[in-house]
Amino acid sequence: MKKSNAFLPLVGVAILLAVWGLATALKLVDPVLLPSPFATFRTLWEGMLSGKLGVDFLKTVMRTISSTAIAAVIAIPLGILLGSSEKLYRSVEFLIDFFRSTPASAMFPLFLVLFGVGDRTKISVAAFGAALVILFNVAYGVMNARKTRLLAAKVMGASRMRVLFDVMLLESLPQTFVGLRNGVSLALVIIVVAEMFIGSTDGLGQRVFEAQQLFDMPGMYAAIFAAGALGYSLNLLFLLIERRFVHWAGR
């Protein structure tokens, strides 16, 4: 029973591949627009191992990770500071919500002016978007710390600083990880879009865009799958880290 359940997620994948394979074999779709799964995955495999795709993949990984790291370094301490005083948070809440709702892509031209054409612009726009998501979650995590737990620490004679570090910080960790996961997903979206348009020469976004321009459909699908795999892996990575370090979440 358990063993068969473990294979359930593969059923959907198998169905998709079967339908896709059948559609190309029976030539239901123009083969120029939709190459066979075999051709697509061969291109993906070869591109990742020896071609330019692997280089672009690594570029995008580097940019996404750096922007998330910068965002985390700025947003986590700031979120704790803002969250530890509800008055302070309420006074900047509108600004955070406003810029959190502003599409980060609308900020590209501004950041281009500030940082010029290059990695710095891409990374800083993505960091800007991710930082607001992380900040919001960390602050709420701290503000929603269980009152009983704070009282318990206080009753045991813990100072304000000790309550902050021993209780509030740990209380906010599950919510902080929610922020980090959302943040890294958003950073990837922004990086890929930035790679497509801002005079880029590399990265997965650039790869997809270029393949489309050259009508290299297997190459384009391969790059799309590479981007999907990257997004999924980053999310999974953060989930695994969360399970390891925030073992009490949801219990």
Partner: protein, 273 residues
Amino acid sequence: MTILASSVASVPTDGFDESRRTAPHVTIRGLSKHYPDAVIYDRFDFDIPRGKLISVFGPNGCGKSTLINMIAGLVPADAGEVLFDGRPLSRVKFGYVFQNYREALFPWLPAFDNIAYPLKVMGVPKAEREQRVERLVAHLGVKIDLALYPYHLSGGQQQLVSIMRALIVEPEILFLDEPFSALDYEMTLFMRDQLQRVFMETKTTTVLVSHDLEEAVYLSDYVLLLSRHPARVVEFVPYDAPRPRTDKTLSESGFIATKAHCLQLFQREVRRG
């Protein structure tokens, strides 16, 4: 019922200095507290006797929990004074057990570290912390795997860990706010006897807020019956059946008479409202 019988240790209650027994431990004078919609306490005076287990019982919303929360400093009083042998709360070691053990324990620490945490706050070195927790565990005869995290323990075990966390500082006084009301009946019976055992072992002045009259009488030396708010002392009912009390105690005439007396006073109070 085998749980009840086996968990009660028969420890003699000797070695207590008779002269100190008569002096009150905590003196409450002129305690006042109002909420926007009600005056809960208006110049409330009371003495808590030393080395006794007292239960606080009264109608809903009369301020049972507010009373111990004010004494323990969790809720500020509007006016009045609470002194422990003439000293303020800040100079007293005390323990407090919350009703909601799930939210009072630290889920990121194993049970052992939860118990040791108050010592860490006090700046006790790690080796001594561990020694003291182990001594307490042996003293109380607790059989829980303390390497587990709280969420892997049953509700009763978690509350027992909370009680040990309150006891680890060797408090002069122990407060418990409806500690068993989130547990099922079987676990409640077991935990009552665990608490009785802790009390017999440590003789710590204990104040228990309860909404269960049977539990209040069964565990206490005195039941403090409060009126509707503003709360007054309706009666301070003594109950001196010898410890350890067991399930047999529940059917003895002394227990039944005391409980009936409390119930009568309680119902009179409820009807007055």
